[in-house]
Amino acid sequence: MISLTLYYVLMAICGLGSVVAVFLAIVERDMLKAVLFSAIQSTLYAFLYYLLMAPDIVLTYIPVSVGLYPAVILFLIKKTERFEDVEMKKGVLWATGLLSLVFVIATAAVIAGKGIGPVPPPDVRFLAGWYLATTFNPRVHLISAMAPEGVTSIVWDYRGLDTVFETAVLFLAIIASVALMRGVEHKGVYDELKHGMTLIGKTITKIVVPLIIGVGISIALHGHLTPGGGFQGGSALAVAPLLVLVVFSKYFFDKVKFTKTKALAIRSSGLLGVGLTAFAVLIAAIFLHKPAYILQNQPRVGAPLGFPWKGIDGVLLGGSLLSFNACEAMAVCAGFVILFLLLSIPERYVRSVVVGGEEHEH
């Protein structure tokens, strides 16, 4: 069968390419080159996930590892040193290369020899079967999420509680960075000639940014129907302000009066939305004197209330999933904007504020 062979050839090429890229990234002294090698590895991995039919993972992986991760590292390298002081010894380098080669060959041999047994194990299959049977199934309405997109349903409905906590952790990290940079306010006057990139870059960014916002909202609001969802849509949305930040410069945000405080307000209202959606059915039930659960989406046994799952012309709404996705997209996008606004403050200025403050206390 030609297609299966092709499939394996594609996966093998991606795997090999990414191993070489990772090796080069580790031994490279120039940090900028190392970042780029890791971007190559990420691109190949994204393709690998695509071949494994995991579009949700691709949609999360690309923004994080091709977009945000290199951006954060580049912002940080700019503030520190680009070249590593210590050069790796020739012997260590060869040993690393040889070891990774041996590892790749050994793993390939084990897999080719059916060394990892029957995959996937039977009980995982049962779980998958359960999710597939119940994620969208009007006949068993009392245990179904009523949305056709499996990943979003599992994340926000079947295991909603830990997702809420994960979201909280991500935003605590952002709160920590805001707290760390408290008092560091930098404003400048935007100068069209001096700041930012060339005229061509600026004009195209002007046109592309609204389109990106449209596409990002589409990904977020169709998260219960097609791959995507709150995080994916939010991180696609975050490209827009990031492009503006890099192409137009930070001072452009000062000119249009978009401040960190506004981003914080958007993020907080997104977070509040997630919280409210989690409690919405419960709050309604209290007023109607009926039993209900936290994070309830559809009616359950003994808890008759639930979100609507069908629109006017029969289109699926996914109940609380839609609201969760929209709010999470807002929160994720604004969170990234805050992070990059903080990172883009000139290093000299930050140092003068932070170090100066400490000296003052002593």
Partner: protein, 129 residues
């Protein structure tokens, strides 16, 4: 839609994809053969326009004609077309910004060259200041 329209769309799309694949290979060969970064930019342009925009439009046409995909085929067609248009708009800006940065920071040298007026004009401005 009737089968004839489907066939026409699919054949048109396949022609575009074939052209795209041809230029993609040409661009890849160019990326390997050309001597320096600035000349490779031209190979990259072929890769982005001939090798990505044209086949994406072809995929959009093929998908629009593939009725075995069901109503979701418009999803493929639409997303492929939007991606193609975005590539058409973004790829040149990407190469322009990269070229400017490479020239300004001297990360890549313009060698071999017949002439470099940008370098000369910059040197002149530097002398005047």
């Amino acid at each position: 839609m009737d089968p004839v329209t489907n066939w026409v769309l699919v054949i048109l799309g396949e022609i575009l994809v074939s052209i795209g694949v041809f230029f993609d290979v040409v661009a890849a060969i160019g990326m390997l053969r050309f001597p320096n970064f600035f000349v490779r930019l031209h190979a990259a342009t072929i890769g982005a326009i001939g090798g990505a925009f044209v086949p994406l439009m072809g995929v959009a046409l093929i998908a629009a004609g593939c009725d075995f995909l069901g109503k979701y085929r418009w999803f493929i067609a639409g997303a492929a077309a939007v991606t193609g248009v975005l590539v058409l708009m973004l790829a040149p800006v990407g190469s322009h910004l990269l070229a400017k940065a490479a020239h300004e920071s001297r990360a890549a040298v313009v060698e071999p060259k017949v002439v470099d007026f940008l370098e000369e004009d910059k040197a002149k401005e530097g002398g005047e200041q």
